[in-house]
């Protein structure tokens, strides 16, 4: 886990999506969420405190609110006092229901945030658990770069000094977007996705050999950066000593394992005076074409096999006619 996961952080991140509103106990926003689980404290409100887990956020829905509203005010105060004394991260009332006055009072006294949402209990819990599981999910820091190229997150890796930063710089210069340079935090999230962001607290800076630290936002503007991106393609820059052109026709899709997910992989040869950024760009375009079912290498091979099987002598326009060239 990269940093402390506080109620405040969750609230700021999700307040619009979950239509959250702070009712009382704002000084308790700094409390920490330590588990992705949430609790509906029905039995607790009935006075059964065994197995009550105060580490969980407590969610009160229609049933819970209906139950406590049937209690005598003194009993309501008592049960909320007992519950809030257990020190949970926060309490949420769903469906836009009015939180009972005793609960508001106890949340102030215990300095525990009381929040309200218009969402149904089920949707609220489902979205909250997904968010928290992502936050608490496994993460990994990689010595690599992450760029968004034509909408695809491309993780650029390779040995130190091979030119990853220069490649990134050229991609940004060509209109693509910067996500992270040098160190990428990868997170495995639900739905078999790997998402990356910068490992540096100060995002959008990069070190360029010979120039020093530059600010990507200042130089290239706000549209040249994004904070995080799902990884769709892995590109490894390789020097001439590592690159063996093992029949690189593109007939087979190479893959690489990243945080338990298989991702398409390309190896980009780097040589002095050549631009790996253009190769990364074209590899990404080919990746997009393949995703749409256009497998260039296979189409080419099929056309070639038809030509071979036709028994025609070579030399006469092998792949179709000139009918698409109307401009002469």
């Amino acid at each position: 886990m990269p940093s402390r996961m506080t109620v405040h952080k969750w609230f700021l991140r999700m307040q619009y999506e979950l239509s959250l509103r702070l009712v009382s106990g704002g000084e308790g926003l700094d409390k920490e969420l330590t588990t992705p689980q949430v609790s509906r404290p029905g039995l607790t409100l009935a006075g059964y405190f065994r197995h009550f887990d105060p580490r969980q956020m407590q969610v009160l829905g229609q049933q819970e609110i209906a139950y406590v509203s049937d209690l005598a005010p003194a009993r309501r105060s008592e049960i909320f006092r007992q519950m809030l004394d257990a020190d949970m991260p926060c309490v949420v009332v769903t469906r836009g229901l009015e939180p009972p006055a005793e609960l508001v009072e106890e949340s102030r006294r215990a300095a525990t945030a009381l929040l309200s949402t218009n969402m149904s209990t089920g949707s609220f819990i489902a979205r909250t658990i997904v968010y928290l599981e992502e936050e608490f999910g496994p993460s990994e820091v990689l010595h690599a770069n992450l760029a968004e190229v034509y909408g695809v997150g491309v993780l650029i890796q390779g040995k130190s000094g091979i030119g990853k930063s220069e490649c990134m710089l050229e991609l940004v210069k060509r209109g693509h977007r910067f996500v992270a340079d040098d160190s990428v935090v990868l997170k495995h999230i639900t739905g078999h996705r790997v998402v990356g962001t910068s490992a540096h607290p100060l995002k959008y800076y990069m070190e360029v050999r010979g120039i020093g630290i530059i600010s990507v936002v200042t130089i290239f503007g706000v549209t040249a950066v994004r904070s995080h991106k799902r990884v769709g393609l892995v590109a490894t820059l390789v020097g001439p000593d590592e690159y063996n052109d093992e029949g690189r026709t593109g007939l087979d899709q190479e893959e690489v394992m990243l945080m338990g997910e298989m991702l398409p992989h390309v190896r980009v040869p780097v040589r002095a005076g050549r631009s790996p950024a253009v190769l990364v760009e074209v590899a990404t375009m080919d990746f997009l074409a393949r995703r749409m079912g256009h497998y260039a290498a296979r189409e080419f091979d099929e056309a070639l096999l038809r030509q071979i099987e036709s028994g025609q002598e070579p030399g006469a326009a092998p792949f179709g006619d000139w009918d698409d060239q109307a401009d002469f």
Binding site: D245, T249, F300, I308, E313, G315
Partner: protein, 91 residues
């Protein structure tokens, strides 16, 4: 000293010089400094280029003229002629 060498080779791969075979052939040829060519009738292909080899559209049984020029031309012709006979270890 630059020399020139040539030999006749026959395509033994069942489906001819399709993309996979072309890529294996190009890789073998690229290991030599010499320029390596394959001729079928009027068409001459640069053996180091997959796209060029595709122009040959050579089916199984085609006879090709293999030629090379450069310092290691003889080694290139010897090696590639053997690899044709071995079908480049491919179908």
């Amino acid at each position: 000293m630059a020399t020139e060498h040539a030999a006749q080779v026959v395509v033994l791969n069942e489906r001819g010089i399709h993309l996979h075979v072309a890529s294996l052939l190009a890789r073998e040829a690229a290991a030599f400094a010499a320029d390596v060519f394959l001729r079928r009738g009027d068409v001459t292909a640069n053996a180091k280029s997959v796209m060029s080899l595709a122009l040959l559209a050579a089916p199984c049984g085609t006879e090709l003229e293999l030629s090379a020029s450069g310092d290691d031309a003889e080694a290139a012709v010897t090696r590639l002629a053997r690899r044709f006979a071995e079908k480049f270890d491919a179908p």
